[in-house]
């Protein structure tokens, strides 16, 4: 049975390649044909090259395994966009309900409104001009159909190199509903909040570096582990700001970093006291 399915898939793939001319015509493929990524790309490069190119430079295209057209849109040429626009198509890869990336959004006001109202939204509408009362993952990260999901996220939280480009991209999203002044103040506050978090991480890092001159790796195991936890708590601050979850900015973020920092100092203090 399984072998049969694979044979079918291979045949279809072969057909897709052979019938490339058919797909490149105006008519879309039948909704019952099972598609593979190369076929999608082949046709859509001619139809709307922009989104294919956007996808090519996104994190989705360079990750392993690659997140391609069928990962989000499915294999049947039917309700392609409206299926992929819903949060579920992102959440299935981006972690469980309690994963900070997901939970910081789902507990925010945006996430709550989405949870309450998603069944009443018309998902065939594109991600622009406040077509949705509350934004889902795609509304912000693929605004105006931008298939490069990476333009609205930051990759190195310890540096502010990406701040401007990410803020510019995100501003265009927020202003569908929020005033320009609110957006400006919120962004600058988020950035300052993240910088406060970075200061805590750098402070811990500095004292651990100092201690490395005096103590062995073994003695510093605990503090180094705690420093890694700080990176997650810093990420929570970032996610809390980006997804507008007060809980992630605060309880999962700043005071958690305070606790990490003082526990690192406490252990370093203990090492000194043991030594003297």
């Amino acid at each position: 049975m399984h072998g049969c399915t694979i044979k079918k898939l291979v045949c279809i793939l072969f057909l897709c390649i052979v019938t490339e001319g058919v797909f490149s015509a105006e008519e879309p493929p039948s909704s019952t044909i099972v598609l593979e990524n190369p076929a999608c790309i082949e046709c859509h490069e001619k139809q709307n090259r922009v989104i294919v190119n956007e996808w090519r430079v996104s994190a989705h295209a360079i990750t392993n395994p690659v997140v391609n057209c069928v990962s989000c849109h499915g294999r049947l040429h039917k309700n392609l966009a409206s299926n992929a626009r819903q949060n579920e198509s992102c959440i299935s890869c981006h972690g469980s309900e309690k994963d900070p990336v997901i939970h910081s959004y789902s507990s925010s006001k945006h996430g709550i409104l989405m949870r309450l109202e998603e069944n009443s939204y018309n998902w065939s509408k594109s991600f622009r001009l406040a077509n949705y009362r509350s934004p889902g993952c795609g509304y912000c990260h693929m605004h105006q159909n931008n298939h490069n999901v990476s333009t609205t996220v930051r990759h190195d939280l310890m540096s502010d190199l990406e701040t401007e480009s990410v803020q510019d991209k995100t501003r265009a999203v927020c202003q569908d509903c929020h005033s320009p002044r609110y957006i400006t103040h919120l962004f600058s506050n988020n950035e300052a909040m993240l910088e406060v978090g970075r200061k805590k991480v750098r402070e811990a890092d500095h004292f651990i570096e100092q201690a490395a001159k005096e103590f062995s790796d073994n003695e510093l195991t605990y503090v180094k582990k705690q420093l890694k936890i700080m990176q997650q708590h810093l990420k929570n601050v970032y996610l809390g700001g980006g997804h507008q979850s007060p809980d992630y900015q605060w309880w999962h973020g700043q005071p958690a970093l305070d606790g990490d920092l003082l526990r690192i100092k406490d252990r370093l203090g203990e090492l000194h006291r043991t030594k003297q």
């Binding site: 709550i112 406040a130 406060v196 402070e203 605060w250 920092l261």
Partner: protein
């Protein structure tokens, strides 16, 4: 006044006449700084605070000049911010026989726009607003006093303002109605859903979301809630299972603190005062919408007993810390670390703040590790157990109490270690002061200079 009146009458009278107005003026003066609240002279707000505490901080700008009618606002904002116009169009404000337009709440002069406060909403929703304001008489914790609570918290005043923005995002429930009735739809039905509460009522100190959804009440809601008619008022017979608002805002009364007995679990209370007996009867009456009165009374008794167990554990830990403090064994001690928020290094008496009445709520940074352990035991483990008990989620009662036991063990072991270090250093007649590590560092120094 008869000059023969004895001294013990007129001396206190004169003192009272001087000190009461002086106190009044002092409080007014201390509230008149750049910030807001009792410590307003000690800090300046971030610009974004205006959106969560508009009464104190919002200022309009003159980017657009002119006076506009409601329809004119809509015409322009359909292009500028279509989301809020779409929202308004779905709201009852747009469907009322006499429409409530943008300018009815924000003003017509674009150079002097204001961010609507509860006072603005009270022009039409007077009953709800009156109930809401009246909640203040029940004291903390409450919605109506939430903003004051945040602004007067010593850690809020002490920390860099960009760091504590999140405080205002939730505590703005006192200063804006859209925390629950989100703009610009302002739906009553939406605010009745439990999800409307959980953006703020979640996380380590108040896992109301998890404990409610884990409970039988919450399980019924999760299974069936989508089919319920949320336009109905929160009254007996209208909902098959209770939600946050059904119990805490019964019959739609805009108060959550009026039946609060255990005060969030943050301090030990006497559950048997006459005031608390009245509240207990109110709870039982509410539970009898579905349950037997005697059965309900037993559930509330169980909460008394859970709280007693929790406080026994907390006081045991508190005693350990206070005894270390008496023996000068906390490391670093108050003299060798950045001061407790709003204390000064120049204060004559420096001490470690331990326990609710000494200001435990702000003792989560600038403290030693064992004090932080106690903070987490009190604020995270204890409150998890409390929320589990209050919402009928046994898994959280167990989780919270297990975590408290673990924290208590950790505190005992750490205390032992501190005593050994203390003993050793006393015998060696040396005690290395830890200032270098605790008073310095990028954040620590930045925090000292910025609030």
């Amino acid at each position: 006044m008869n000059l023969k009146t004895p001294r013990y009458v007129w001396v206190p009278l004169i003192i009272a006449l001087v000190t009461i107005p002086a106190g009044f003026f002092y409080v007014n003066w201390s509230k008149s700084g750049d910030g807001a609240g009792l410590y307003s002279r000690d800090w300046s707000p971030e610009p974004v605070f205006a959106y969560w505490n508009p009464k104190d901080f919002y200022q309009s700008v003159d980017t657009v000049v002119g006076e506009f009618s409601g329809e004119q606002c809509l015409d322009c904002h359909r292009g500028v911010t279509p989301g809020i116009v779409n929202d308004w169009e779905k709201s009852r404000h747009s469907q009322a026989s006499k429409k409530v337009y943008c300018n009815d709440c924000h003003g017509s002069n674009h150079e002097q726009l204001h961010m609507p406060t509860p006072d603005v909403c009270s022009n039409c929703h007077a009953t709800q607003h009156k109930q809401f304001v009246d909640e203040k008489r029940f004291g903390f914790p409450s919605h109506a006093l939430a903003m004051e609570r945040a602004l007067d918290a010593k850690h809020f005043v002490d920390k860099p303002k960009a760091e504590v923005t999140a405080c205002l995002q939730c505590h703005s429930v006192a200063t804006k109605c859209d925390s629950c009735h989100t703009r610009h739809k302002f739906s009553a039905a939406e605010a009745r859903r439990p999800e409307a509460c959980i953006t703020c009522h979640s996380g380590p100190p108040h896992p109301d979301d998890e404990t409610y959804f884990n409970s039988k009440h919450g399980q019924i809601y999760l299974a069936e809630g989508k089919t319920w008619d949320w336009s109905k008022p929160l009254k007996k017979g209208n909902y098959p299972a209770p939600t946050c608002a059904y119990c805490h805002m019964d019959e739609g009364k805009h108060q959550v603190a009026n039946k609060s007995i255990w005060k969030f679990g943050i301090k030990q209370i006497n559950p048997l005062t006459s005031g608390n007996e009245v509240k207990r009867k109110q709870w039982i009456k509410l539970c009898t919408d579905c349950h037997d009165a005697d059965w309900s009374a037993v559930r509330l008794k169980e909460m008394d007993s859970e709280r007693k167990t929790a406080w026994n554990k907390l006081y045991e830990a508190e005693e350990i810390l206070k005894s270390l403090r008496s023996d000068n064994l906390l490391h670093p001690s108050a003299k060798h670390r950045p001061p407790y928020p709003m204390d000064s290094p120049d204060d004559l008496i420096q001490y470690e703040h331990i326990g609710f009445f000494e200001g435990q709520a702000s003792a989560f940074y600038n403290v030693s590790a064992i004090e932080r352990d106690y903070f987490e035991m009190w604020y995270f483990d204890n409150l998890s157990a409390y929320k589990g008990a209050a919402h009928g989620d046994r898994s959280f009662i167990k989780k919270g109490h297990d975590a408290m036991d673990k924290s208590l063990d950790k505190i005992k072991q750490k205390a032992e270690k501190l005593r050994v270090f203390g003993e050793k250093e006393k015998n060696n007649k040396q005690r290395k002061t830890p200032e270098e590590l605790w008073l310095n560092g990028e954040y620590t120094e930045y925090n000292r200079q910025h609030n």
